[in-house]
Subunit: 339 residues, 2 copies
Amino acid sequence: MRKVTIKDIAKAVGVSYSTVSRSLSKSPEISLETREKVLAACREYGYTANYVAKSMVMGKTEIIGLIVSSMDNPFMSELSDYIERYAREKGYNLMVCTTSHNEKQEDEVFRLLVGRQVDGIIFFPSFSTSYDNLKPFIDGVPTVFMSENLRDLPESYIAVDNREGTRLGTEYLHRLNHRKILYFGRRKHSTTHQLRAQGYMDACRELGMEPSFMDSDHPFSSIQKGYALARELFARPLAYTAVAAATDSLAIGMLQAAGEAGVRIPEDLSLLGFDDIIYAGLPVINLTTIRQPKEAMATTAVDMLLDRINNPMTAYSHIILAPSLVERGSCQRLSCQNN
Amino acid sequence: MRKVTIKDIAKAVGVSYSTVSRSLSKSPEISLETREKVLAACREYGYTANYVAKSMVMGKTEIIGLIVSSMDNPFMSELSDYIERYAREKGYNLMVCTTSHNEKQEDEVFRLLVGRQVDGIIFFPSFSTSYDNLKPFIDGVPTVFMSENLRDLPESYIAVDNREGTRLGTEYLHRLNHRKILYFGRRKHSTTHQLRAQGYMDACRELGMEPSFMDSDHPFSSIQKGYALARELFARPLAYTAVAAATDSLAIGMLQAAGEAGVRIPEDLSLLGFDDIIYAGLPVINLTTIRQPKEAMATTAVDMLLDRINNPMTAYSHIILAPSLVERGSCQRLSCQNN
DNA sequence: CCACCCTTCGCAAACGTTTCCGCTTTTTAT
DNA sequence: ATAAAAAGCGGAAACGTTTGCGAAGGGTGG
């Protein structure tokens, strides 16, 4: 059951195996006649070219590595989906590694991928730490970061304009007559979240509101965390009329706690998310949120990476995409006397 | 910026490159002294072994291919997450290909993966068609199917007991005094769904109920489809007290339509899902459902595959896992007079 | 009819490893 | 002390491709 190689085809047709290779790679210097004999033999024997051998001589694998924290976040899985599709369209396959929000894992899979000789890496870093032990490897492989978390590293990155996103959202809530808005999410460990908090503060300053925060030490956003935090919040009398959450997951967690606490959304409290994950659009959830342009982020990231792969001398590029507000049902205009 | 190879290390240390290779692969026939010199040089020069070269001589890549329809289904993304983690734990990397429920794509990526020389493939087929043009390739690579859709093919597969799942669920609804239960989902194109429908019919026969179905031609389950179908259903007076949906996605779509139509779940209609995707557990959704043991399915699939990779002569194995009922809030006991 | 060019193909090197085989050199046993 | 065994290492083949170079053959122009 040995696999059939180019040499088997050559022997079958009665030509040298370089001729077979050339026939397959539409090189012009092969007569139509022999080429067709070769192709026929390939079909007959079920020949499939060995990519690893090809990779070795060509010096490229046409594989791109993808490093993400986990697929259990719908934002990540949607994005990976777009990335995989677009990359394959461009002739590249995807090798996916998850890190479980573990910095040591991030390090480990990065080296693993360079050992695998991937042509490039798309990397969603979970943190904004130094990544010192990544630096020796980082310029061995073209990399594009899908966040501003590592924007000090000399590499390309692409991200949504997080600061503008929350600014936009806060402004929107203000237009709805809200004056007491809570920012619900973390501000540490990650530039992404610092920027989101910044945008909120910017808007507060512009509009003359007092910023207030609810945070936790836990470095990640999840429904569970949002739920736990919101329970604390609802245990005391409500001091806010609106909440700007740092992520949709946090917002959905709060939604759940609100249901249990008898807090009605949006009648008692307006709730704004961030990301526009697919479940935000579910009518039962119906979350007004700040949208990240996921498909554009995915295709642009791949294009940036391919660009760096094909022209290694080009400079790094940094692309920031515009967020947008998608209005659904979780935010309500406040009548003025309620203020 | 050429990559540093084993020969560079050899030259640096002053030994032959076979010695370097042996030092790295903890072969016993190298003195401690030289081994340490080699390791030191590797660190200094930042050497990482080239897996593609290694793959070629070893005749294996330690990559396993994963073929799924799409990651936008949370069931799939959760499963892939488990698979990726467990596979890497076992020393394998994952190459993911999506097919967009397209049979031609399934074919194409399968061949692509064998060209990539993956050691094995985990494949979620979307259909139960013949896969004739797959057959010549299928015994070139160990494969395990994660569904019974292709159970006639001479290959291993693993799946949940779909038939038992819906039987269980229907029985449960019957215990809740429901006698008019609608089966909401497709029955064609896929053995998986035929089996689910079967289980429902089995229970109906056992319990003396008349089966009824609502279906559509569209071959896939999605929230959108469930929504559209349910709208039709709710446009007429309700003839059922309970619905057994073929998937959570369909159920969630129905949930949405119910909200719009003023049908209260579970007061007016009990709703049962299938899969237990992560969003079924959200309080705002709170769907009672039949659970597929996702983590067990993932790890078992990987184990089955590795077993076939390591012992090519072993027979195919077929594993069917037990589903379980998870009770949440979408089903209600019917008081008898309502019947 | 000869020289030259173009077409078509074969040979062999190269990619970076692992591993078998064999050669020294050292250790052990007698 | 000597023979045998063991330890430590180098040489080279092999994995399956691509591709530069050279060679043979046929065709064309003078």
